[in-house]
Point group: C2
Chain length 362, copies 2
């Protein structure tokens, strides 16, 4: 089947570009002896997670317990759930999962660690545990100071849990390449303080987990970090390009769309809106628009209705029935809108993958 | 089952509030002899579309052909596809649909109308047709001037199509109640011009379709409009409330979420982010935040990560494990993130509905 045989809108994954992205980061991690545990929230497709393992990943990361179950069903190893799981229903599912595969969870509270511990003890299983610290993103994670150490110590001593180390999320290491350099220096002061605190308490860490896509190739310079879990790098997107961390040629995912109306002067409307791209704003560069139309730098995707993409043509001409391919702002939320995506090589459709982890919100 | 038995995050539909919303608009349309064809993109659930028919709707509206097929499978009548469908694959599916149920499509180009016409003639079926005109929203629709009349005339004469009239989308009639009054006056000048143009050409219109939720109860004052297709009114959302078109008590949908982290000072993190709410910004009021936490006006949902909702507590206290219910900014895109939602009455879970039209992107 050819791309021209697909109806629109459709999410296309350029397999050659994806393989090159996987190989590049795999090689980088091997060179620097960094363990790679890619975040599969970007694709939620077991087959692509397997490709990541084949390119050297030591395991995978997920955000939701339901995603972990999907990946375990498909035989993926070394699953890290980088999310604080709360409540009896989830703790029971977690221990059931731990019975059949190696699983590590991250959390930042004694409440959650205790709940997991009690369930693990009751069910006679062991769950790996990382404690999250906040290096400045301000989302989850204990503050990096001595007042957090009693909590870390208590969690470390809970039965049913296997202490594996600490986790940070450097989501604030973004902006342009030069901005990231400044932020990295500040981050390393924070990480050094964390390493000192842990050492002073005699808290050993098999794993110090960090990493995101914009700073992926700086990972060897983060103090103490020995494992990374970037997600977007497999595909890249407009956010990554505008953050100077990839080129358009490194973007593996495009939305194939058709022009359905040109009645409004200066505009063309495509059959892909917020329910195809997700409505996520651009978080880097000039923060303008909702995607990049391949081969048409003059076109601005100026707005998204639910099912309409508004192209401001900027002098180019498109007619009803023309097709375009658009790199989304944020590929993780774009793929998450779809039940299936298509693998392509040049003009051929070579695969169709179910986004098996989509909709596993719990 | 009680709400407390549900795991989180979960989308709850308060059935009593929904029924009141349905009755109110149904009564209003009956009083003003307006045909109601609600846009089911808001819920994509056949059972709720049936409730709309029971409350007086003459048919339903959908955005995608795949949604139309789901609704037809469930026996819903009078389907309007308010989207310009392009391409042989869709035209074949459309005529297959027209063979088993009454279907009307909207478009604004001779290209698309001709394609549908040719397929309908080949397959020996008739498809209802509305031509869209642009009253100022600037998305789809022919300009309202004499140069558009030849296209309208050509479309009207195509075989295989049954001319049913015209369609407008007053998506720009928004803002506060007083702002909408001003916009309505301007809109009526535009609509009067359209009615005059059509009359001068002898183009009769069985249907003049308009209507959105913010202006739903002004519909009887739109010149010429005899049918409306609001969507959001069944549930309402923060956008509707901030546009002074509903109260919080009129919001039928809330996201039930659990606090999973309180480690960062002044914040609480809930287990519902952009992949639960959708990342849609607030389009009315102060345009701040990503939802309204019921019972906590002091809390700002200041940011959404993919799976984390960032609550700025504003002096209130929440602890890990606490549950909150949050009215989303935009309920149509929120429900669209989910495979199923729960109907509730007071504290009881009384229904579980599959969002059967979700993911039907083509």
């Amino acid at each position: 089947m050819r791309i021209t045989d697909l109806d629109t809108p459709a999410v296309l994954v350029d397999v050659d570009v994806m393989e090159r992205n996987l190989r590049r980061l795999g090689d980088y991690c091997a060179e620097h002896s960094l363990r790679l545990r890619p975040h599969t929230k970007t694709h939620k497709i077991p087959e692509l997670a397997r490709r990541q393992i084949e390119h050297g990943a030591a395991g995978i990361t997920v955000a939701k317990l339901g995603e972990a179950e999907v990946m375990a069903d498909a035989g993926l190893p070394g699953i890290l759930i980088v999310y604080p799981l709360f409540g009896a229903a989830k703790w029971r599912r977690l221990t059931a999962l731990a019975r059949r595969t190696d699983v590590t969870v991250a959390c930042d509270s004694v409440e959650i660690a205790s709940g997991i511990s009690a369930q693990a003890r009751q069910d006679g299983v062991t769950v790996g545990l990382l404690v999250e610290f906040d290096t400045g993103f301000g989302r989850c994670g204990l503050p990096i100071d001595e007042f957090s150490l009693p909590a870390a110590r208590r969690i470390r001593e809970l039965p049913g849990l296997e202490w594996r180390g600490v986790l940070v999320y450097p989501g604030h290491i973004m902006g342009t390449a030069s901005e990231r350099e400044v932020l990295l220096n500040r981050e390393n002061e924070t990480l050094s303080r964390l390493m000192e605190l842990l050492k002073s308490e005699g808290i050993d860490c098999l794993i110090v987990s960090g990493g995101n896509t914009p700073a992926a190739f700086l990972s060897h310079r983060f103090v103490g970090v020995n494992e990374i879990r970037p997600g977007t790098y497999i595909f890249n997107d407009k956010n990554t390009v505008c953050a100077e961390a990839a080129s358009w040629g490194d973007c593996a995912v495009t939305v194939l769309a058709t022009v359905v109306s040109t009645s409004v002067y200066g505009k063309a409307i495509i059959d892909a809106g917020g329910k195809t791209f997700s409505g996520d704003s651009l978080l880097s560069g000039d923060r303008q628009g909702f995607g990049h139309v391949i081969g048409h730098p003059e076109i601005l995707v100026e707005d998204l209705s639910e099912e309409h993409g508004h192209l401001r043509l900027g002098g180019s001409r498109l007619k009803v029935g023309d097709r375009v391919r658009v790199v989304p702002n944020h590929v993780c939320t774009c793929v998450n809108m779809h039940d299936r995506v298509y693998g392509v090589q040049r003009e051929d459709v070579v695969a169709e993958w179910e986004v098996a982890g989509r909709g596993k919100v719990r």
